[in-house]
Amino acid sequence: MIEGFVSVGPADPTSGDVMPTTPDPAFAGRTYPAGPVHTVSAAKIVEFARATGATSALHTDAEAARGAGHADVVAPPTFLVSLAQATEAQYIEDPDSGIDFSRVVHGEESFTLHRPVVAGDRLVPTLTVEAIRAAGGHAMVTTRVDLADEAGTEVAAVRSMLVVRGD
């Protein structure tokens, strides 16, 4: 059962500023400033496709991709994880967040793609910390990275849930 989250800092009265030792619930609902713009790289699409065993020529051959109606090579469906995780770092790696990365286990991930992502796309990422919950002595942190083009049109969204193991 998912219960309400209570954060308890270290009980050392002699310490100065108390760093949170569990994910600080104050971050829930926070949206970070958008950007910077990221240009999707054809070379990284090729490398990612190879690394995951995606063999379609649409990932590696720009002529084949254009023949199929795309502007350039097409990214595999999970390709945006790199940009998403780089954006999530604003929160995950913030010392004030209270997330001990050595205790983190990846719980869930989801991608919503409004259209195929292709090399040359210029995407603007925006991070939101959607929820911080407690369950069974662990914390579950859910983030969402929205990816829009420079005109502001939504292109994709990447949601990630991390489990921060308790003691």
Partner: protein, 159 residues
């Protein structure tokens, strides 16, 4: 990857329960290194046994995102159009330990779970396991189906 069947599935003629792909993917430490480079995820639990064990793991484990990215490739080959994917989600149910030598086999089956004609999409459910242990839970992809032509004539799915 070993795949059956070989001919691209016709996206305009899918039926619920249809098996689209059954594939086997070998994962070795080499695979983890290449994925780390490709994705930028350099978490040492994916290449350093001592660090993995200190984190309470049995040893080096595969990136969950490597598993997720690899698991859909059988389906992508079966439909011959990676651009048709509109959503893909999963839970990570069990880690995949990867030994220092040799490899483990990720076995994936992709089955049509539902078809939404009004929305023009199909949901494909993936089951993924290593040595009988389920590694992905509720793994599902949403495919955009080809639009029917206005005159109602049948059309082959995109090759």
């Amino acid at each position: 990857m070993t795949t059956t069947p070989a001919a691209p599935a016709d996206l305009s003629g899918l039926t619920v329960g249809q098996e689209l792909a059954r594939t086997r993917h070998e994962i070795s430490r080499d695979t983890l290194v290449r994925y780390a480079g490709a994705s930028g995820d350099f978490n040492p639990i994916h290449y350093n046994d001592a660090v993995a064990e200190q984190a309470g793991l049995p040893g080096v484990i595969a990136h969950g995102m490597l598993t997720m990215g690899t698991a859909i490739t059988g389906l992508l080959d079966a439909i011959a159009d990676p651009a048709a994917v509109r959503a893909y989600s999963t839970r990570f149910t069990n880690p995949i330990p990867v030994p220092a030598t040799g490899s483990v086999a990720l076995e994936v089956v992709a089955v049509v779970g539902a078809i939404d004609e009004a929305a023009g999409t199909a949901r494909v459910d993936l089951t993924a396991q290593v040595d009988g242990t389920k590694v992905l839970g509720r793994a599902r992809a949403t495919l955009a189906l080809p639009a029917a032509p206005a005159d109602g004539s049948a059309e082959q799915g995109a090759a």
